[in-house]
């Protein structure tokens, strides 16, 4: 799935980003550029800071030093700006985080109706189209608790897409799923990638990464250890730490 993104505009830029939890250095001088249409997969051992990294992009986590620029807007404590950026950046969580008291349809239409002022009818139409795209149109009027994990995650993707985001962040989207449900979620993500969505994906699914990613990022101890194309990354990793990690994860 290779495509050329080198001369596309930069969507996300991180310059010397640092974050600490008390004394723990969670992000250590992170520098990254994500271009329009780029599919970036971030991997690394647990606790390496990959989730923290993508969560700083829509400021679910605050960074304490450095610069994060999303679509030309620098992330500052300004609530209004954070708000505008969040509307443009969709996020999918490991635990789905659907709203259990709302139907699938209302989960998807809530934000478009109230934050984008889209008429309810129109928002519902879009929601149904999205549900069809992720293959669970028939679940529209059910509650999240009545769906399987894989179905819930697909609703979560549809919910994020309903805001028509320019960037999608995936924070270990398949880690909480039973093995037979992982594929249905990855299929949806693959389709998104084909559609040209700018994506940052934290995942351990290396087959998916090899197939879909433009860029692989390997993190350890809050640092970016290696960043390269999937071809190089899997066949010829430069760093010893990367090799170790790949050995472990691929031999499993």
């Amino acid at each position: 799935m290779e495509h050329n993104i080198d001369n596309k505009p930069v969507m996300i830029e991180m310059n010397q980003v640092n974050k600490w939890y008390d004394d723990y250095h969670a992000l250590d001088n992170i520098n990254l550029k994500v271009r329009k249409g780029e599919r970036m997969v971030i991997c690394g051992p647990s606790g390496s800071g990959k989730s923290t990294l993508i969560r700083t992009i829509n400021r679910l986590e605050e960074h304490q030093y450095g610069q994060i620029i999303v679509e030309g807007v620098e992330m500052t404590p300004d609530v209004k700006k954070i708000h505008e950026i969040r509307k443009e950046v969709g996020m999918v969580f490991q635990q789905f985080n659907l709203f259990p008291h709302l139907t699938v349809l209302n989960n998807i239409t809530l934000s478009p109706v109230w934050e984008r002022n889209i008429p309810k009818k129109e928002a519902e139409q879009t929601a149904l189209e999205l549900l069809e795209r992720v293959g669970i149109l028939e679940q529209a009027n059910k509650y999240p608790g009545q769906l399987s994990g894989g179905q819930q995650q697909r609703v979560a993707i549809a919910r994020a897409l309903a805001m028509k985001p320019k960037i999608m962040l995936f924070d270990e989207p398949t880690s909480a799923l039973d093995p037979e449900m992982i594929k249905e979620v990855l299929d949806v993500m693959r389709e998104l990638a084909i559609g040209g969505m700018t994506m940052m994906v934290v995942t351990h699914e290396m087959v998916f990464a090899r197939e879909v990613a433009d860029t692989m990022v390997f993190m350890d101890a809050g640092k970016i250890v290696e960043k390269s194309t999937p071809k190089e990354f899997f066949s010829n990793p430069k760093e010893e730490r990367t090799r170790q990690f790949l050995n472990q994860i691929l031999n499993n």
Partner: protein, 362 residues
């Protein structure tokens, strides 16, 4: 020894022995210590209930004059029958009592209408509910404009006053407590400290002293030409007091919610009030429904403290009625009757909350 169990071929579960006798045998009389417990309990209930039954029913006398009770050892329910209207409305003028009855009847009709599923979604019913407080207020208070005799709030009393005080306090304490709970969780230091200070201050003071303060101190804050009736002051006091307790309960719900719910709402770009209103509060309030109803029951019962600032609520009416020369010393009957009414109201509240819990379970 191993018994052979045949495979089961039916498509329904096998029918077990049932019936009242079987149930009793299984639940009350086996094993032997259960049987002993059953017998002892039954005996105790018999010993305790028989005298009460004899007093309250067998030997009781009914009527409307004190004469029927002369020489009787039983309860004198004639007292209740005679004083019934006073228990209900206190010193409300007797020729105007129909207005209260009318208001109560209207509310009862609304409640019955709401019990019908088909009517529940009707706009008209919602409108009637919204209008009902104003209509009740006009009916009970009266005044020239409505061609009704004006009945000042000093003459309101009895069960009517108890219900007024508790309902109004509940209705106003609830939104205030939501704001306090949100304030306590706020990122803004000023709002947070004000909320914490309010909650901790009010929770640390007994309701009685708040009622005293409300009746003595409150008028000092307002210009003298603004008059607060005693009832108003009591309502303000009770509302402010219970808002602090409710706020702590609601905070529990806010904290009990998974962090992912907050994050998902944030990630979707929902603003603070939309996030709270659509996502967080609906779930948090469901979690804390049982303790909230517990608080409401507390409000209802604690309105009986308003006697201390000179209001004649249901409990005070009982005191007043027993000091009526005609019915001197009918204290047992009065207390039992009042207790029964409090119990009916509290039990209805708790039943209502069970229904809500079942309907809105997550």
């Amino acid at each position: 020894m191993k018994t052979i169990v045949e495979p089961y071929h039916g498509d329904r579960p096998p029918i077990l022995k049932s019936g009242a006798l079987n149930w009793m045998k299984n639940n009350l009389f086996s094993p032997w210590y259960n049987a002993v417990l059953t017998v002892v309990t039954a005996a105790l209930v018999y010993i305790l209930v028989t005298p009460l039954w004899r007093w309250a029913v067998t030997d009781a006398c009914f009527g409307t004059t004190p004469d029927v009770c002369k020489g009787s050892h039983g309860a004198c329910w004639a007292f209740i029958q005679d004083m019934w209207p006073v228990f209900m409305v206190g010193t409300y003028p007797s020729d105007q009592r129909w207005r209260v009855a009318l208001a109560a009847g209207m509310v009862l009709l609304l409640i019955i209408a709401t019990l019908f599923r088909a009517l529940r979604k009707k706009r008209l019913l919602h409108l009637l509910w919204i209008l009902s407080p104003a209509v009740i207020f006009i009916l009970v208070r009266g005044g020239e404009t409505f061609h009704l005799q004006y009945v000042p709030s000093t003459q309101w009393g009895g069960l009517m006053l108890t219900v007024f005080l508790s309902l109004v306090s509940m209705i106003f304490a609830f939104p205030l407590s939501v704001l306090l709970a949100l304030g306590r969780q706020s990122d803004m230091p000023v709002i947070r400290s004000v909320s914490v200070a309010y909650i901790e201050l009010v929770r640390g003071v007994p309701l009685i002293s708040i009622l005293f303060m409300a009746s003595v101190v409150l008028p000092l804050f307002f210009p003298p030409e603004m008059e607060f009736s005693k009832i108003m002051r009591a309502m303000v006091g009770i509302t402010l007091f219970f808002a602090a307790y409710l706020a702590e309960n609601i905070r529990g719900g806010l904290q009990g919610l998974a962090r992912g719910q907050y994050e998902a709402a944030d990630a979707l770009g929902l603003g603070y009030w939309k996030k709270m209103g659509f996502i967080i509060l609906p779930q948090a309030l469901r979690i804390v429904l049982p303790p909230m109803v517990n608080n409401f029951i507390g409000i209802l019962k604690d309105t009986s403290l308003v006697g201390i600032i000179g209001l004649i609520d249901l409990l005070q009416v009982a005191f007043a009625a027993t000091s009526n020369p005609k019915w001197l010393g009918k204290i047992e009957e009065a207390y039992l009757f009042v207790a029964l009414f409090y119990w009916i109201m509290c039990y209805s509240l708790s039943k209502f909350s069970r229904i809500l819990e079942e309907r809105y379970q997550l």
